[in-house]
Amino acid sequence: MDFSLTDEEKAIRDTARAFIRREVMPLEQEVLRRERAHQPGITRDELRELQLKAKEFGFWGLSTPEEHGGMNLSAVAQSLIWTEIGRTFVPFRFGGEADNILYYANESQKAEYLIPTIEGERISCFAITEPGAGSDAANIKLSARPDGDDWILNGEKTFITNGNDADFAIVVAITDKEKGVHGGGSTAFLVDRSMGWKSEWIQVMGEGGPAALVFDNVRVPGRNILGEVGQGFQLGMQWIGKGRYIIPSHAIGLCERALQMAVDYANTRETFGSKIASYQAIQWMIADSETELEAARWLILRAAWTVDQGMDPRHSSSMSKLFGARVANDIIDRVMQIHGGMGYTRELPIERWYRYVRLLRIFEGTDEMQRLIISRDLLRGYTKIGGHLA
């Protein structure tokens, strides 16, 4: 069994690491300062400037096909790069990407939505969650009623990431109440903000924050249907499923960084005449963290590998999301504990990570939903204990 990276993977990982260290990490103190003053950590323009600089190093469109100017990386390589991104708390990501669901666009929609999103000229958001439908996403109510060649959208979406900045939304709506979402009653629409939806910022525990979107008789032309009528929910579930290993990949990066901070702190901080690193209470927290981090790392890389093999990644992705989110919460908690009172201050990024990682157990499928997926697939015999080795 070979647990090493290929030369190519290593080269790309090292380049990403160097870029993050040289170009992004120097902004960290400023990000903390601005966030303490309730401002965004970095502005859209600053993000774009960084992304264009990264493009010069070849980092553009990690997941984007080559025909659209992207890198078309393997899932394993993407996972490794997201871990590098996670090492900084600057809200940075490489440019040149679009929501994968946008690849279902037809030719004219590609020109109008997909390409400008990849280029960073347009900003999208993906909206399925509603006030009455989160985990139970099949219970969405936002309705689309045909009117000539157009559709009229009415209802509300909530918790939509990027919802305040987006100039268009990918919205899953009910087009046939009788059929329901599983019977082909839902459809995805590309809806420009200029068509009339409104957004309102939702303040959350972490930095940034999603938005609530309100659709009050929003008229959408029929040519803005994404994919086929009746396919909306299914497209949405693919959107969520495909990238599920990305979230814990990112979390691994911040855990690596935070744990290193804890190790360094333990080796310098003294109480009762000794370095706190000499106390078992501290050593055990460090040992548990490192062990869980390693376990999560390989679970996540295995999920990414499963994607690259063309196998159904749902089971392994769910396990990596469930475990990765758990471990990230436990590790950041210990890192805070090791730092004592300092860990609770806003001078260090630890309390910021603490607030951020709590989200990982909620969005893109709560812990409980992941457990439901994992156990259901096992109980009905779709997956085997032992995975692909079984």
Partner: protein, 88 residues
């Protein structure tokens, strides 16, 4: 219960330091655990500032740090029970 026991000991003018450590350790860790569980029950709504559970978690978190961290409470209780000082 542990906390009431400490209060009762104080009322009776009996020694209470170790019992207080136990109460502080247990209650502060339980507060963090409960707040985090409560947040999970609320799902996305627990993560929103309008719902107070997120604030409960942030407030609870400091209680395992100040007035003697959980690690220090363990040492205090251990010393009282065994007579061995494992601080330094």
């Amino acid at each position: 219960m542990l906390t009431w026991r400490v209060a009762d000991l104080i009322d009776r003018h009996e020694p209470f330091a170790t019992e207080a450590s136990m109460a502080k350790l247990f209650a502060s860790e339980a507060a963090v655990r409960s707040a985090s569980n409560a947040l999970q029950v609320f799902g996305g709504y627990g993560y929103v500032d309008e719902t107070p559970v997120g604030k409960y978690l942030r407030d609870a978190r400091v209680t395992t740090l100040y007035e003697g961290t959980s690690q220090i409470q363990h040492l205090l209780i251990g010393r009282a029970l065994t007579g061995v000082n494992a601080f330094g």
